[in-house]
Symmetry: C2
């Protein structure tokens, strides 16, 4: 009746060798990444919707309120990222899924969506044990579900990563991944217990969940610098056959998917509000604006301007991120951390732009808000730049040859990544100097940057030619600059 399966079909669907309805996990992971990125950025909404009257100064009470909300946002972002990292690790071990794993993962996702809410409860009622208890309980249950997934995976070994599957030390791997997954929940469990006795200790424990991995890493790094132990040997329990490098590189695809989700939700954050709130009421238009729709809409002009500014900036930062990760072959944990920080700042961009346009007319806080926008843009882009610098330090493992020091795309990548930090810093200082024209400077920056990106390749080429010409001139005088030139000229030797 049916034709034999073509090789293409066989590759796309579960092969006959695996039992049951075993499936590739890529779509489950993509869906999880989409959910997690939305959850990570959700706490920016209360910040963005803080109403400030235009005639009100950015006074202390408002500032404090805003700062508290921003702190909640940043902490939630970091917490969800920790959950995401554990999720990445988990599905590096479990490479194939079946229906049970898929359903357990969905349950896990649902609990993760409660993390931002319980965290903001905790932040609003710092002295009440119930908030801490709820948050910790959520985290513990998430950990337990993930542990069940691990147990299920090791009970059905055909679901595991091939390297673990053929290894003789399955138990070691099992304990190792369980340790990574349950470390956070264990701290949370203790925090939940201590919340009834001594609340400050609970907070210290919860803080450890976020910073423990980075702290240990940092301590190891310091030790290696002080004592001179090679960093590669740091893991005392690494077996001889430990070629499966569990604790270091994140999955590049998942970093990209998570980042894409954050960029997408943040880019559309303002249009969500515009679509909901800024459609004028038919009756109002008739009464107030003499039935002129255009007049009524002009009232919302600043909102559209803010949307335009934030979408363009986020779109272009995505573009830079995209170009950067195109040349990255492996994402280390430090690069993941820098990426998270960059994303956290990007979440603040719509808010900054909204403030900018709200104050565009009433010039009382104009300069401050424009400077805040510049600072956020600067930090979002400088962390991207830092990823690139970090990658350059281990360029053999982490970068594509084209992008390495001396590669033919090196100078271009450098320019791409440096554009936003330079422009935002420039705009910041210009507004300090020419405070009268701050709005004009800011809008000019927004308009120029996209065109700068379009023409960047040409600009880089011109400046390379100019630099080389200057080098040649100076070479006549001094031959020692030769080495420096080599790194700037697109060397053809690698391709």
């Amino acid at each position: 009746m049916a034709a034999p399966p073509s090789p293409e079909e066989a590759a796309a669907a579960p092969g006959p060798a695996r039992p049951g309805s075993t499936q590739a996990s890529h779509r489950l992971l993509a869906y999880s990444d989409a959910l997690l990125s939305i959850i990570a950025t959700v706490m920016i909404l209360p910040v963005a919707h803080t109403k400030i009257h235009p005639d009100q100064e950015l006074g202390e009470s408002v500032q404090q309120q805003l700062l508290a909300k921003i702190a909640v946002y940043l902490m939630t972002f970091l917490i969800v990222t920790v959950a995401w990292t554990a999720h990445v690790r988990l599905f590096q071990v479990i490479e194939l899924i079946d229906d049970v794993v898929a359903l357990l993962n969905l349950a896990c996702m649902m609990l993760i969506t409660f993390l931002p809410y319980t965290f903001s409860l905790m932040a609003s009622f710092p002295g009440v044990p119930f908030g801490i208890f709820m948050f910790s309980t959520c985290a513990v249950i998430i950990g337990l579900i993930q542990a069940v997934i691990v147990a299920y995976g090791f009970y059905h070994p055909y679901l595991l990563n091939h390297q673990i599957q053929v290894s003789e030390n399955k138990t070691f791997y099992k304990h190792h991944i369980l340790k990574i997954i349950l470390r956070g929940p264990a701290f949370c469990f203790l925090a939940a217990i201590f919340s009834f006795f001594f609340i400050p200790l609970s907070y210290v424990l919860l803080g450890l969940v976020i910073f423990f991995p980075h702290l240990t890493r940092f301590i190891i790094w310091c030790k290696s610098k002080a004592v001179g132990v090679k960093e590669d040997e740091e893991e005392p329990h690494s077996l001889e056959s430990f070629s499966f490098y569990l604790s270091e590189p994140l999955s590049k695809e998942r970093v990209e998917a998570f980042s894409d989700g954050v960029y997408a939700i943040v880019a559309t954050l303002l249009i969500l509000d515009i679509c909901e709130d800024n459609v004028p009421d038919a009756r109002e238009v008739q009464d107030k604006f003499h039935s002129s729709l255009i007049e009524a809409l002009s009232k919302y002009g600043p909102n559209f301007l803010a949307y335009f500014g934030s979408f363009v900036t986020i779109g272009l930062l995505w573009f830079v991120h995209h170009s950067l990760f195109l040349h990255i072959t492996k994402a280390t944990r430090l690069m993941g951390l820098l990426n998270t920080l960059s994303l956290a700042f990007i979440g603040g961009l719509p808010l900054a732009y909204q403030l900018t346009s709200e104050f565009a007319e009433k010039s009382r806080n104009e300069i401050e808000t424009i400077q805040v926008s510049c600072v956020i843009t600067f930090f979002a882009s400088i962390f991207q730049f830092a990823i690139w610098i970090t990658a350059l330090f281990h360029e053999r493992e982490t970068l594509h040859p084209f992008a390495r020091y001396g590669g033919k795309e090196h100078a271009f990548m450098f320019a791409k990544l440096a554009l936003y930090p330079c422009v935002s810093l420039g705009a910041f200082f210009l507004t300090c100097l020419l405070s009268k024209f701050s709005t004009e400077i800011f809008h000019l920056m927004q308009i120029i940057v996209p065109f700068a990106f379009l023409a960047l390749r040409i600009l880089v080429r011109i400046s390379l030619v100019v630099i080389r010409a200057m080098m040649n001139l100076s070479q006549w005088k001094d031959v020692s600059l030769e080495e420096e030139e080599a790194c700037l000229s697109p060397a053809e030797t690698l391709s």
Copy 2:
């Protein structure tokens, strides 16, 4: 200095054969899909946030208001889907990208985000030409940018699909893709002009944008049935070498990515509100609830229940969708349309669940809202079932052998897809019969369904054994049932 690129590195990044910074397009497309799915569902927010007082009946004025908003939501969803389809077609032709294409695509995305807003303007002011003009202008500019991308692609042929690249009829392909992309904008252009003279004609033209492809398809199908022309020969301009099947199958990956985005944003829609609005105020807790946080939170109980219900339902429908597309090898246009309709109903689920729990205590409209939830769930799931039925009609091209009629996963897939339609229909009629216990029935349904999915494989096996046993019994009496059995038993012949 640098090691020669490993084969893995060479595959992951731009190969040396392609000029400049040519890149694979998958991440650009994933990002676009994420943006488009958020934009498609944005108009559900005004529907979800329509405030109805609990003591107010779902009276006519509220109903009309809601219905108008729902109509806007559905139309926006369809419009964005049309834009998405054009985008899919475009990037089936242009397979590699460079920086210019990426930036043009981002500009295009930004304009698409304005479609929902301009459409709701048009819907709020149906008699004002400005709304129609704005919407049409947006659509025209989107079309023009996409046309520029096509022109750019054909000017740099290394960006094109390989099949087109080697073909001698490049001009034909160029005109064909331009026709697909510019058909909608052309209608919109006419609508913009007519908006100043004769508004009804504008609406007819805009309606054509959405329904024209399906209408022509339907007419062709009717013709083929009436005259008896084979469907495959329908395209009069298909050249002999027309192996690149431009107008029929959608890219399966992009259908999945777009669906994932919609499922993710809809699943988190309620938690967005909860995180923003339902953190109790510290002062209020002290005054109203005697500093008892738990008491204050219990006020929000129904909201959490609604979130739980909608997340679980959407998560499980995603799970069904995931299982379904795992066995689909090719997505035809009709399947794409059914998928869109299913997604449109899924967008309504959070709203339905929110209504359900808002009325959970005040039992005035209780039954109505529960029934609305059941109906929406039914339609969302029955359209998924319809995708499966459609796939079965052309199972050789569209389904993996396992899932085909007689395949070993066939019965299981059937059960998975039939579960939600059956349960929601059952709950609907039960609430009609036992209207007193409607809330209990509804919550029972929510709790049972996830466990039903977990145990589904076992249930299916048991029922298959039972059916086979019954078949064997009846076979002794009548041998003619043999054929029917074959389709239900997991035939091993295919694997």
